[in-house]
Symmetry: D2
Subunit: 343 residues, 4 copies
């Protein structure tokens, strides 16, 4: 190989990378170029480090190409262009109709859940949430009513023709909970509990996956991938705020995550505005913002008497606040949902 | 003083704190109760620590009451209930009409600013931003055109009957910049530059104050207080994202800050969506979310040819993208601004 | 009750809180003081809010006192003043002798573990770590050799008379892993996996509990409490860096957590310097700092050939680096461990 | 150019990058390879994107090489291999002798400073700190005694033959402060106040530069570069904790920053342990850790009566605590400073 003119050498390189790309790739795959080789040959101006990086980048790229051909991420728009629509009872989640998951933080009594459901029912909300198994920082805090809580949820849901959304914290609880639950929630603290993700990935029920306390968007998508990869295609993503230094809110609601997740995945995206804020005085603007940013639905906590709630007393709306919240939100949503979609 | 029945002691305490509150307050102010006093008297069950805290709390509260009577924060709704409305050229900022501050990150040339302003003009946007003094991490990075940049901004603004919004980084620059600038921007890195805050507090031009990189909402409000306290009442707050671990966006756009600032202050609140995201593919949903959450306006970066921009190339819209952005945003805003306000 | 002089009223209050504390406490417990009561009586200057807070604070304090008497946290120095010492093989963890947990990030082959153990053995290090079940962000990344990996660890440990420290990710894996493992590691991503914590709390093997990615020190202690509360007293805490905005290191090593945990708990505290840094060029100063701050031991990753490691290539020392690291660290430790303790 | 065997193509590429590197570099610099060129030639398997990136990387690298030759960062070890040693009074900072900067948070009175200095003097500490201009979140908080505070510091320093370290917050204050100050401190909130950095860069007094509240290590180094670039070579870096979600400490002390800064710069590195912790019960282990990690000195706050301090009451040691702190720290330092250096 001879290089007569400097002006041509970029063409040689270009030719190598373009026209002979396949040969370069095979050659790099089969050879072992050592530092010694490079050092002995290198006359500058590129550093040996740079040359190694270029060769490595080409080698990696070829590897990724191979990988990409066989393994596009299941959550990605590259894998599925159109939005996933998930059926829960009579609701279609992800089908450009704003959805609401409402209920108390913890199930405390039949009466408590009944009163919230009654109010939801009046407003056409049919996705009922409530915590029966509660992930609590302290082992001495109220841990939820367990299976009894699930029975209360199921009974109230049957009365009002609703669907039950509730958190399951371990693979072992799934068997006993299965019949009472319509959507299995994976909580923020369990987003990286890979065994649990794999277990719910084998079920035939939809999963609402919450973002981890300080998970990146990438990690969040990959947690969904664990579920999808086991066969369960019905995954709903739920942004719920991330942990930062700011103390005015319980978490920092990462509104940007909503459009990014909508762009990069085909999965429905919810926002849990109660946990994002940790205070109920800004729930309405947060809900509006979530829908304006492209969310498919929101999740919020309502309790007949928040002051005596066994958990999260400060962030739960009472029934009147909930009624006003829904009125004002519908007023907002009706304006721009008449003839157009959210996105 | 005798305590015959346990049932009555809460009334004695209540009586002390309520009916005799003024006496308690005076008494605490004049006395010095030492640990030794408490220890020697304390028969439980309250710890000496608790008792000290209660006495201290009452003492502090009384002090705060005194302070509150003379010094309510100037930024607070307690000081001024109605929204502050700030006049900039023909625009009224804070008067429930969505406002836009648009322009390139850095002023690079007359041609560059002229082309952006032309496009703004077509859409009725009259607040022109552009950086002449640039706060850059490295002293060797492009530091802005300085006074020449201001002259370009002012000239283009005159042509199109616009107002100039630009960052001033030091008290010294103000004199030379004064005549060219309509709104003085205090950048994120200078939110805690108290001398600069005091200096602009003495001017008769509006100030756009950006939230610090990792400032709490409380610190942000108090930075505004520094300006207001010097006499300048025309302060616009600007949320621009906070620094977190997330790398999908340049900063984490703290959408909750908008309703909190609107509730707690009477000042107009903007959102700088370009810096909050650091990527232009989610500007539209971010802008919608900002307005839905109650923002009075947004700030965004537009450049005729972002690829060659001297700073922030990735986050600036080109002219066509800007046109589409405004069309889609107006479509959204028109729906819910017809008969109602943002808030 | 009469209050003749303002100068005396603080003494009345003091007397109430000190000498009659028990009566106040009982009285508050039995009474229901409503807002109406306070409002009707309150003549200022304290706000009704303040008075309610004071009464509530006293009421809470009394409640806490009662609670404390029956339920002191098991991890606290209040529960156990002297340091817990945990026996693992021939090592005594927590007994003021610096300890080392060393090994590859992932178990890849018998040869790989064997070579690391050989080097450890020369330096008297007998706690062998290695990942057999790997928590990976992507389901397509190398997930560890599983039970085969545990068998390799156990076999090598037997050869060199070492103890095996390895991560277990789910209650189900424990049965099959039990015989191969001497210390069960709970990884950062599972610090809030409460079912797993409860399960290992019922075992008779020591548990090394890592701090969650962004767990507070309080949450970390309470996660340990979940284990202790089930009966397993052998818990080792392990600081491993927290997630922040800083990118120069993989995590931000929270050195302050070490003295705080040593003060507030009786449990041994380790520092995983490899995960804290994510880069091997600062392992030595980090190790020195950890011991200087009071750590009972450190954890670090060593691999015979880090460049080809299946995980965490950048942060693992090779055998020569490990040898130098130990030499320099011993040189440091010998100086101040001769006649005094770490703390 | 012909490629006969796949096995050889990596050698052709290697040869191009190594032996003909200079030609490649020149050629790339002079040519404009467009997307069209690449697309028309590209036969796979590399994407056009990858090929552009490789060419760009080589082009950038060549550019960086050129740039490096003319502009190595002044703070870097590449610019100056040996440690910078800074003379302050009789002290040599950066010369492997542990140094201490001690004093009250705020200067409050002559008596207050005098008593601290007296205690420092007994222990051979001669770098006296104290705040005269205080950066306070609220404009209504105590702002420092100003010039009067500086006079107190200077007078006490003269009495005890000490040097004064104090914060200056604006270019304007420098002239009046100049004669009273030996080391100018740039506070955390002003690390990004570029005008101030440039101003102190023109002085002939040493500068103690504190890391910003949430500045990256890179930004911290570049802030130092602003000072160095103006001619002032006497810059001391001071890690003081960064803002995180953790509330057990005021800031999170980023111990890893110390060895990283020592490796990457030739400047002395201090740790402000009082601000890093915000609580005085862990100052001793933090100081030990700082020195063990390679710090040249520490900074700590001492007040004769912290309970009545006008700022930062909780984090200041009283005189007795300071005496004990120094005794225990010297006991630690003497062990490993006898025959060896810190680093």
């Amino acid at each position: 190989m001879s290089m007569r003119k400097a002006e041509n050498i970029d063409e040689v390189l270009l030719d190598l990378l373009c026209a002979k790309g396949q040969l370069v790739a095979e050659s790099l795959r089969n050879s072992k170029i050592s530092d010694v080789d490079i050092n002995s040959k290198n006359k500058g101006p590129y550093t040996t480090e740079t040359i190694k990086q270029v060769l490595q980048a080409l080698s990696d790229e070829e590897f990724k190409n191979t990988e990409k051909m066989t393994k596009v991420y299941l959550h990605s728009r590259a894998f599925q262009e159109e939005n996933s629509v998930i059926h829960v009872g009579n609701e279609l989640i992800g089908k450009q109709q704003p959805q609401f998951i409402i209920g108390p933080c913890s199930v405390e009594s039949h009466e408590q859940v009944y009163r919230v459901a009654e109010e939801m029912s009046k407003r056409g909300v049919s996705l009922l949430r409530g915590g029966a198994f509660k992930p609590r920082t302290s082992p001495y805090d109220f841990q939820g009513l367990g299976i009894e809580g699930l029975q209360i949820l199921a009974e109230v849901a049957r009365t009002y023709n609703m669907s039950v959304v509730t958190e399951i914290m371990s693979p072992e609880s799934i068997a006993e909970a299965y019949d009472y639950v319509d959507v299995i929630q994976i909580g923020s603290r369990n987003m990286h509990n890979f065994d649990l993700l794999k277990t719910v990935g084998k079920l035939d029920k939809p999963v609402l996956l919450k973002r981890g306390l300080s998970a990146t968007i990438h990690e969040f998508k990959m947690a969904a991938e664990y579920i999808l990869n086991e066969g369960n295609k019905n995954v709903i993503l739920c942004e719920r705020g991330i942990r930062t230094y700011e103390t005015a809110t319980r978490n920092t609601f990462d509104i940007s995550a909503i459009p990014i997740l909508k762009q990069e995945t085909h999965l429905p995206v919810f926002a849990d505005i109660s946990h994002a804020a940790g205070r109920k005085d800004i729930l309405l603007p947060q809900a509006k913002a979530a829908f304006a940013a492209g969310a498919d639905g929101i999740m919020a906590e309502v309790h007949p008497n928040p002051a005596v709630a066994l958990s999260d007393a400060k962030q739960q709306m009472d029934l009147l606040e909930f009624a006003q919240f829904m009125d004002q939100l519908h007023h907002f949503l009706n304006r721009f949902f008449v003839s157009t979609s959210l996105k």
